[in-house]
Symmetry: D2
Subunit: 136 residues, 4 copies
């Protein structure tokens, strides 16, 4: 299993008038977390996209347990629990500085050939990386 | 069952470099849809909040079937399928002008007393409205 | 002079924990206002972009006089005071329902050929429209 | 003069379909920069707000010289050139990793007593800090 932690400080722009992080703003935290997890294992999402593969989100689920607040230094823990194929699923947990679990979430994305618009397998070097971890 | 349609035109700010509506931006469309559904049946979310009840989101799930694009005039169809209690669940469907279904989603919110931070039942006049629809 | 009014209702996502519309969110209101002003005079920004002309913003200035609040039904008044060339300048005023002036702003955009990245004059039919208004 | 640099990596959510950072999204970068400049000199904007002082933006001007792009690691250089009073002005420059200047901006904010809604001078310890720098 691949696991990576990313820290994000809550911006004022991300709060709403309940003084909570607006429920829609977590999506960009999860995007940052999965991109940084990719970078951590040696893959650049930007380069993959420049090379003609894009990764739209197919499914997104989240549970809000406690609110994140302004200026909180959040830890986003992201996990890839299953070997990716045409699809890849990420799990997320959001913690504040007191290690309190605030939010859990899951996203499923698909690898798409930008030219054809068709689903494809991820690049070979990406797959090879995962072979090491999920080999029988 | 309560059902209401709201139209929202996609803003440039809501697109990303895939030329899709960014997956995190649907959350604000669903917020608009549920607030307008409330207004349609005679309730103002703003007034409810001013009166000391707030409604944070507990759970949010969405499936992205096809992308919404810049300048699309979307129809957000929102439904309240079950009589609300301390919690209320909304279902959503997003259609483009060609009546193609782009996205489905569900959110569960909780009524909270702003002073105590505790869950409470919605205001009586709100409940009365629903009694009519979900009566035995 | 071309003048057009657009109504926008403030979304919860656009508020911050001061209970003001976050100062950065007006930019998308102004974007909507200028796109709707274009639509009003018969031009679609989307079609122009599809035809290979894009319009990045060069300059943006705004003064915040009074805060816009959640659920306010704002009127954005947009004006094109000068005949456009390679550049086009829009002026904006934001009013609430009580006709109180909340914000004033100005943006200057440039017409760019998407293929070459170079500034160009706007399409002829666009220019012709303005000839009528600003002719000597 | 007080000067501080902050690094911000561009999120996918912040791009638009021109593949530029949307012009409205710089406002939150500048917010982060000024809050981090405050933290750097020993002041927490959050604590100031908790203590009853808020700082809405009065004026915001920006010039877009070159676009910031997805995944760029931006440096936001923020300067406080004049001793603050009831108002405080910040200047900003945005650079990419190649040290190319992308954007310049200026914001003026006002210190407000949250209870009365009236402008006030900043806290004494804040002012004392600036006395050192701007003393005659």
């Amino acid at each position: 299993m691949i696991e990576h932690d990313v820290q994000i400080r809550v911006r004022y722009s991300e709060t709403d008038q309940m003084s909570y992080v607006y429920y829609g703003n977590y999506a960009s935290y999860f995007e940052v977390a999965r991109v940084e997890a990719f970078r951590h294992i040696g893959f650049s999402y930007k380069e993959m996209e420049d090379a003609g593969i894009m990764m739209p989100v197919l499914e997104y689920k989240t549970k809000y347990i406690k609110p994140a607040k302004y200026d909180d230094l959040l830890t986003i823990r992201v996990r890839i629990k299953q070997k990716p194929g045409v699809r890849i699923t990420f799990d997320y947990e959001v913690y504040n500085e007191e290690k309190v679990l605030l939010t859990i979430a899951e996203t499923t994305l698909v690898f798409i050939n930008s030219s054809t618009g068709k689903p494809i397998l991820p690049p070979q070097e990406f797959m090879s990386y995962f072979e090491k971890f999920y080999a029988s």
